[in-house]
């Protein structure tokens, strides 16, 4: 006999457990026997056997579940009973238990009471699948509402732009699948009431569901990752944002391994999950500020690449250009609708200069960015229940004309100015006298020179 094994994509919905039987029978006829299901429900390991006809049974064990170890006293009692009645245990995955028997044997089916079976399916699989969807919907809904009205930030990155379409799509997909599961279970319930057998899903149906669900999930994930990489090309530091999901997935997989293989009781795994949750929270609170500080430091530059119009403290304060700077920071970015944008800042002992520059493809995007920056400045930040750094914004028509801007606002203290002219938005703050003609001319020629030439 061939002594080899292979991993195949699994991906069955747990509600399709009846279709798994058919699949396992087909695999055995081709010479492959299920060994285990791993990596959540994504992959299954098969080992080579002599091609043969075998009977399979996939049963729902009500005392199983995602938090329950694979081998508990209860599951062993149950499997022993199944083995005594002629079924050989193969493996288990959450609630599902996999058995086989020889083709010529006649073991009594593991479930002989459809009403009872349906009741268990409802209390285990449906509840479990729906719980996942509810959590997803809750988080997605929260993220969605939290981002409404859409923030101007999404115009600034490939990831942001693509998420305008992907987030609602993922939301709709998850809702569809949840609705579909509920409909299936209601139909099964009504069949039982009418005395009809529960509809057994065909392999074709189960396969279409797998392709629809995982296919769309994969496309969303790959698209998102691709665009994160595109954004990271210009600013590699944003890859740090993958750290949180990375830690989440690693800890999750580790916990799953412990829960399934090492723990003996459900209480043990729940305890370990709670403790791990606490450890992760503490870790994130100590590690992340440290990482973000390092990331911020990495934006420090000695020179700015070509193609980015900047100004220096020396220029705006009209002081010698050898002014000793403490730091210079430069954060560039790009998106299909904002081909150039960057934040630039300089700090010396007494002076500072902050520039945010956005060049969009269309003035309408510049308008959204202008409004976004203006609102953000006005609202300030929420911090421990308080609003801090909120500013009073004023407009100055005379100044707007002087600057030849489409839109112009200032803070009351006149230390921050936001200007929009056609497709360019500029926010300046720091040691700049915005009433000084020479400074104004310098800023206009530096940042809005295209228009001056045309005019």
């Amino acid at each position: 006999m061939k002594n080899k094994s292979k991993w195949v994509f699994w991906g069955f919905f747990s509600l399709d457990y009846q279709a798994m039987k058919i699949y396992l029978e087909e695999m055995a006829e081709k010479g492959w026997m299920l060994e285990k299901i791993g990596l959540q429900q994504y992959l299954a390991k098969f080992r080579a056997i002599e091609p043969q006809k075998l009977k399979f049974y996939v049963d729902v064990f009500k005392e199983g579940g995602p938090l329950t170890p694979e081998n508990t006293d209860q599951s062993e009692d149950y499997r022993r009973l199944c083995e005594e009645s002629g079924w050989t245990f193969i493996t288990s995955h959450d609630y599902l238990q996999f058995f086989y028997a020889q083709e010529n044997s006649e073991p009594v089916p593991i479930q002989t009471d459809e009403v009872l079976e349906q009741e268990i399916v409802e209390h285990t699989l449906l509840r479990n699948e729906l719980r996942g969807f509810y959590i997803f919907l809750l988080i997605a809904g929260f993220v969605f509402i939290n981002n409404l009205p859409l923030e101007y930030h999404i115009l600034l990155s490939y990831t942001g732009l693509v998420s305008i379409f992907l987030l609602p799509l993922a939301f709709v997909l998850a809702s569809l699948i949840a609705a579909y599961s509920i409909i299936r279970i209601l139909k099964a319930r009504s069949n039982i009431k009418k005395g009809l057998p529960i509809e057994k899903p065909t392999m074709k149906n189960a396969r279409s569901r797998i392709i629809f669900f995982y296919g769309s999930q994969l496309i969303i994930l790959i698209t998102l990752l691709m665009f994160i990489l595109v954004d990271a090309f210009l600013r590699p530091q944003i890859l740090v944002s993958l750290l949180a999901p990375g830690i989440g997935i690693t800890v999750g997989l580790g916990l799953r391994y412990y829960t399934k293989k090492k723990a003996r009781k459900k209480e043990d795994s729940v305890r370990v999950i709670l403790i791990s949750g606490l450890v992760v929270i503490i870790l994130i609170n100590t590690l992340f500020p440290f990482i973000f500080k390092r990331v911020d430091e990495s934006y420090e530059v000695t020179s700015v690449p070509e193609g980015y119009p900047i100004m220096t403290i020396g220029e705006v304060t009209k002081k010698p250009s050898n002014i000793s700077l403490l730091t210079r920071e430069f954060k560039p970015g790009r998106s299909p609708v904002t081909p150039i944008y960057y934040y630039y800042s300089e700090y010396s002992n007494n002076e500072s200069l902050n520039i945010s520059y956005y060049e969009t493809t269309e003035p309408k995007y510049a308008e959204i960015i202008f409004k976004g920056i203006r609102d953000k400045l006005e609202k300030g930040f929420k911090w421990e229940g308080m609003t801090i750094f909120d500013r009073t914004i004023i407009s100055d028509e005379e100044m707007k004309d002087l600057w030849d801007a489409d839109k112009l606002v200032l803070t009351q203290e006149r230390d921050v100015i936001i200007i929009q002219k056609e497709n360019i938005v500029l926010k300046l703050s720091g040691s700049i006298d915005f009433n000084d003609k020479q400074t104004r001319d310098l800023i206009i020629s530096r940042f809005f020179s295209d228009f001056s030439v045309e005019n």
Binding site: D59, E63, Y78, R80, L81, E84, S85, P109, I110, L116
Partner: protein, 106 residues
């Protein structure tokens, strides 16, 4: 739901309780039910496991001993009463029917 169902027992429930009027272990129950009903009623291992744990939760049966991880159960007083009630009910059903169906020749 479980309580409601126990007002009238399903066939597998009835036979499990009947067999458990004597101490018996899980697999023994499956074999005895099949033998007693001459193969007409078969109880699957999963169904039996679920029913036994439900009966145990509701104090209808009790675990007597465990040997080689094989648990032996028997009826509690409550279980015995449920079984007797069901037996009376079934007898009543039969006698109700016999008056009509078997007296058809009069």
């Amino acid at each position: 739901m479980a309580r409601e169902q126990l007002k009238t027992l399903t066939e597998p429930m009835y036979y499990i309780l009947l067999i458990l009027s004597q101490p018996q272990h899980g697999y023994g129950i499956m074999q005895e039910v099949e033998r007693l009903t001459k193969g007409r009623v078969k109880i699957g291992a999963g169904t039996l496991y679920n029913l036994l744990s439900r009966f145990e939760e509701e104090n209808i049966i009790i675990q007597l001993s465990e040997k080689d991880r094989r648990k032996t159960y028997t009826l509690t007083d409550k279980g015995l009463n449920i079984l007797k009630d069901e037996y009376q009910r079934l007898k009543q059903l039969l006698s109700d029917a016999s008056g009509l169906l078997e007296g058809g020749s009069e």
